[in-house]
């Protein structure tokens, strides 16, 4: 078994088709991408416990209004079996997902480079699917802490390892199209919820009974299906022999002499000593914070900003909505979320592929400059009641949010070389963890403060948009400061050779 998983075992034989690697990576990313779609379980879980009359029992945090009261309710909910969970209690799973994803990728990225993608993919499958099974137990016994531990912590580790498992391999297989190759895999993470959410809805409607929402059975089924897919992906991985190139490949003229694309390699232990690493960390953190904050609030933002215009009753403000208006507005809001998701995933493959032609730094210049302009124009679009302009702007922003994720591995490979790119990418993903906290806090804090001050719904987000535009400008400056890595950080020939021996890259192809 150990030999089956070893890195020597997966060095490709001559004639191996490199186009088999992206679907293997997609198989893993499409499964772990379901992390984005977990909100589909919140509502069924919120009413999981019912009384003798068939009504949902009160939540553990019933009546809580302040953050402290809600947090206190969550503490009670962690082990209580006689009260229901709120969205606030369950929403912490998202925080756990993205914090653990970044931490796991940072901690075990170095191990992955030496152990190889197959072993990492298998561990990811065990963690993610095992986490779902533990969550199923948590739902069955109504123990919130088991949900957090299962999907949040153990599953989060699986997310981190699965996310970075194909990066290094794809960059080495596609030296001519680094952006496109990593874009294809990372598109899968964006698309995972698109498959997982409707799949989970189908399963829950199949399993539910008058006394059971069918969530634990759905977790078990999804764990089994995902495990098969992820195993297929892990065993589909092959790594190229060192220095492999596609037949007839010549460095493009734009690459020769381009100091922003190195032919050398920075060791993982040196990467964080370079200013380039921290500048890119800030770029990713700021681009992601702005995107996460807005994507997380997309549906209420559209409803509050445009009110009755969303269903041909422009005279009605959000605050005057009837129950029927709320249903109609929520449907349009859900449509907006769907549209943003589509732009998010197509942005991942589109922008990353485009960066192969344009260059990574100019691509990020585009993201951050255009993003700043679009955020700054959003209040104007809202004031002028330009719904199409508003929606269009946020679709472009969503595409650049996705593009930011998918282009960063190629940017790192260009600057730091390919030997440790997966592990360096893993460490950079801590920026995502930080953004997962910063973005929603900025957007939700300002929103709640404005609501408390009685600001009109259509202006609730104005200052948020200006702050996000400012964040993009800071990111733009950081990106402009990125220069080629200094020579002293590159590995010597002897260090590279020693590293390749440790990484088992000199074994015989099997």
């Amino acid at each position: 078994m150990a030999e089956l998983l070893s890195k020597e075992r997966i060095i490709a034989r001559p004639g191996f088709n490199r186009w088999l690697v992206p679907p293997a990576a997609l198989a893993i990313h499409l499964c772990i991408g379901m992390a984005y779609g977990f909100s589909v379980f919140w509502k069924p879980l919120g009413g999981a416990l019912i009384d003798a009359e068939g009504k949902a029992v009160p939540a553990c945090a019933a009546g809580a209004t302040t953050f402290a009261e809600k947090a206190s309710g969550t503490l009670k909910a962690l082990a209580a079996t006689d009260c229901n969970w709120t969205q606030f209690d369950l929403g912490w799973m998202y925080t756990l997902f993205f914090v653990l994803l970044g931490c796991a990728a940072a901690i075990w990225g170095g191990w992955l480079e030496r152990a190889g993608p197959r072993k990492a993919g298998l561990v990811s499958a065990v963690c993610w699917c095992g986490g779902l099974l533990i969550s199923a137990l948590g739902v069955y016994w109504h123990q919130l802490w088991l949900m957090w531990l299962g999907s949040g912590v153990i599953g989060g580790v699986g997310l981190g390892l699965g996310y970075i498992s194909p990066v290094s391999t794809l960059v080495k297989w596609f030296p001519d199209r680094r952006g496109m190759a990593t874009g294809m895999a990372i598109m899968g993470f964006g698309g995972g919820a698109m498959i997982g959410s409707p799949f989970a809805t189908l399963l829950m409607s199949h399993f539910k009974t008058p006394t059971d929402p069918g969530v634990w059975q759905t977790f078990v089924t999804m764990a089994a299906v995902y495990f098969v897919f992820m195993l297929g992906g892990a065993f589909g991985y092959r790594v190229p022999p060192p220095g492999w190139r596609p037949e007839g490949f010549r460095l493009p003229a734009s690459t020769v002499g381009n100091t922003m694309i190195t032919m050398h390699h920075v060791h993982l232990k040196d990467a964080h000593k370079t200013p380039q690493f921290w500048l890119l960390w800030l770029v990713l953190c700021l681009n992601t914070s702005a995107g996460i904050g807005i994507i997380g609030a997309a549906s209420p933002m559209l409803q509050e900003t445009f009110g009755g215009q969303l269903f041909d009753r422009p005279e009605v403000d959000f605050g005057q909505f009837t129950a029927a208006d709320r249903v109609a507005a929520a449907a349009v809001g859900a449509g907006f979320v769907g549209l943003i998701s589509l732009f998010n995933i197509f942005g991942r493959i589109g922008w990353a592929s485009f960066s192969d032609k344009l260059g990574r730094k100019p691509t990020y210049v585009t993201f951050l400059l255009l993003g700043a302009v679009l955020y700054a124009l959003a209040p104007m679009a809202a004031r002028g009641d330009h719904l199409a302009l508003f929606v269009g702007s946020f679709c472009i922003i969503a595409s650049m949010y996705g593009g930011g994720f998918s282009t960063i591995p190629a940017y790192l490979a260009d600057l730091f070389g390919t030997q440790f790119v997966g592990a360096i990418h893993g460490r950079l993903l801590t920026a995502w963890s930080a953004a997962g906290i910063l973005g929603p806090v900025v957007v939700n804090y300002i929103h709640d403060t404005h609501v408390a001050r009685g600001i009109a719904p259509e202006h609730l987000y104005d200052s948020t948009f200006y702050i996000l535009a400012g964040m993009m400008v800071i990111g733009f400056v950081c990106n402009l400061l990125v220069r080629p890595v200094a020579d002293r950080y590159f590995m010597t020939a002897a260090e590279l050779e020693a590293e390749r021996r440790l990484s088992h890259e000199t074994g015989n192809p099997k």
């Binding site: 004639g15 679907p23 698109m194 022999p241 050398h264 390699h265 769907g338 590159f490």
Partner: protein, 61 residues
């Protein structure tokens, strides 16, 4: 202390050192097609489901 050269011209430390090159085996393409179908079909279904939800914003009721 021994100083090692870390110049950009160091041939062995380069990522572009000469390595093997090959064209894919022609018989591998059917497997490539099957692999892409296995991941592509669920992805297209997910995209269709999402587009179905987004239709209301693009085209109204």
């Amino acid at each position: 202390m021994k100083q090692e050269t870390r110049s950009r011209g160091s041939a062995h430390a380069s990522g572009m050192e000469s390595g093997p090159q090959w064209h894919p085996d022609p018989s591998s393409w059917p497997l490539v097609a099957v692999s892409w179908l296995l991941v592509g079909i669920p992805l297209l279904w997910g995209i269709y489901e999402t587009f179905d939800r987004a239709k209301i914003l693009l085209f109204g009721d």
